[in-house]
Subunit: 186 residues, 2 copies
């Protein structure tokens, strides 16, 4: 699909997850998209753990916030993590978080392009996730997403309602020309 169309159609869907297995080639394409992201000094701090299989997904799902428990219906959960020390830090800004954001955005777009459903989640018990997946102490778990075919016949059908309700700030609230020019609160 066209890039701008995929950017417009990508949305977070967690109540539309079919248990249908995802072809390994598709998982590979999604990981490859993440791999090609830019990163500070090309440090590529991102590490991905792909958890598949009904039992393993269900065990992992219990480490997430109650409101996300339905991810246990997905055939796969991808956990994205990094060692903060594998990236630069400037004045307290830890760029591993920024770089992971860039890789995950690529991943979400690639999944959308393939007709798959995602839902990035930051609310989880990090200690539990690390224990379950044997992640070393010095690694931080940043984000996770289920990866699934939609329950509906197509991604478009699954996303239709959600997209019609999407809320975003107006461009003039977030984009300024020439200098900072925040609107005064109404």
């Amino acid at each position: 699909m066209e890039t701008l169309e995929v950017i417009r159609k990508r949305c977070s869907l967690k109540t539309h997850l079919s248990g249908r297995k995802i072809e390994p080639e598709k998982i590979n394409t999604i990981l490859e998209a993440a791999r090609l992201a830019a990163s500070a000094r090309n440090m590529q701090p991102w590490r991905f753990i792909i958890v598949q299989g009904k039992k393993a997904v269900e065990v992992l799902a219990h480490a997430f916030a109650e409101s996300n428990l339905m991810i246990k219906q997905a055939p796969a959960i991808i956990i994205i993590c990094a060692r903060p020390g594998d990236d630069v830090m400037h004045d307290g800004k830890e760029y591993y978080l920024f770089d992971i954001g860039m890789a995950v955005a690529n991943m979400l777009l690639a999944a959308t392009d393939l007709g798959l459903v995602t839902h990035p989640m930051a609310a989880f018990n990090e200690g539990e996730v690390k224990r379950i997946l044997h992640i070393p102490d010095d690694v931080r778990v940043v984000i996770a997403t289920p990866l699934a075919y939609p329950l509906e016949a197509s991604y478009d059908e699954a996303a239709k309602e959600r997209l019609s309700q999407r809320i975003r700030k107006d461009l003039k609230e977030i984009a300024y020309f020439d200098r900072w020019s925040e609107l005064e609160p109404a």
Copy 2:
């Protein structure tokens, strides 16, 4: 262009910047792509400052690392910033950085799709950038990119050499199945 093709072709180019003015519609399309990114609890912490005009770009360029001084040839520099307090923090992980990464990835892909050149830069004198652009104290400047047409006749021509030399970790170094399974250092 197809999404996966744009993801493959996107690369950081800073020595191929033409001074040719960028159409406002294209800048708008790029900002719109960023606006549609996902963010934690839909907080949308990102703010963009678009600096244009030879003089303003040149003044701003001097706040960047010497190795990036060539960005002064670009017709526009986009500065991306946020208030950390406008986003969630979990156990010391500041998600404004992650969310900005997702918005910037969308932006870079939209620019590539439009045939424009970008180069995300994290090395700058943040105090200087804030002073020049009147950015409030509680806002952090995270990343910036020049935005330009390439000097060459097309994006593909401009990116060809750089893409042929691209270095990325092998997928098996960064993607693990079922549990953490880092390869032992050779």
